[in-house]
């Protein structure tokens, strides 16, 4: 299945893109996406304690992904 992944802040700079389309095996979970990202992008691993949002909601690693989901890689926030 195909999902979209958005990157922000330091994650956006590590990846070099604001947005990517990724192909994942059916029945993948958010945790699987984390592992895929860590393989493809040095730095997007346990060194960066980022949160994942799926369709604009913070989501845990066992969140089931679906075709056309929009995931977002959210580094620790620093607004204000």
């Amino acid at each position: 299945m195909k999902i979209t992944v958005l990157f922000f802040g330091v994650a956006r700079e590590l990846v070099g893109e604001r947005q990517l389309a990724l192909e994942l095996p059916a029945a993948s979970k958010a945790g699987d996406l984390r592992r895929l990202l860590a393989e493809r992008f040095p730095g997007l691993d346990s060194d960066l304690a980022y949160a994942l949002a799926i369709n604009e909601k913070f989501s845990g690693d066992d969140r089931q992904l679906q075709q056309d989901d929009v995931a977002a890689v959210l580094p620790p926030v620093s607004g204000g």
Partner: protein, 167 residues
């Protein structure tokens, strides 16, 4: 001016339906949210928050300081996950109303480049009573810094870094 606040309608799109249990969980009081690439207007913030039923209005203005831990700051840059800023702030606003009994809630935040002395953020609440207003506005700023998806990059004489929250 008020026309720019069609964003108040974001709540209809971004609050997940499961949480909108019934009409009464939707506050009758307004939440004003604005993410802007141009200077924030404090007078607009105050006039939006003005409420004849409220005697207490607390406004926080966070400006860019000329130094950060002893290092001279040149300017800041902010980026945000905009739709999620709106949905997270709506949840925070409801939390504030439940915990502190306040009415109006406002958050203006700059995006892009912000220079020294400029306001990066304006947070405000209106309430019948002052103690709750102070507590709620302080809590709004705490929550902003904990969970609202906005990121700050600091440009100093030594280069540029994404700011990470101090624990």
């Amino acid at each position: 001016m008020i026309g720019s606040f069609n964003r108040m309608m974001w709540r209809l799109f971004y609050l997940p339906l499961a949480e909108v249990k019934n009409e009464s969980t939707m506050s009758e009081f307004p939440t004003f949210i604005s993410l802007s690439h141009s200077p924030l207007s404090e007078s607009e913030a105050r006039s939006l928050l003005q409420d004849r039923g409220c005697g207490a209005h607390v406004l926080f203005v966070g400006t860019v300081r000329s130094s950060s831990q002893g290092v001279a700051v040149r300017h800041l840059e902010f980026e945000a996950y905009e739709p999620m800023v709106h949905s997270v702030l709506e949840e925070i606003a409801e939390e504030l109303r439940t915990q502190f009994g306040i009415r109006g809630v406002l958050l203006f935040h700059r995006l892009g480049r912000v220079d020294i002395g400029e306001a990066a953020v304006i947070a405000g609440v209106s309430s019948a009573h002052r103690k709750e207003a102070f507590q709620a506005c302080a809590h709004l700023m705490d929550r902003l810094k904990q969970t609202v998806p906005i990121w700050k990059k600091e440009f100093t004489q030594d280069g540029a870094v994404w700011v990470t929250p101090t624990p």
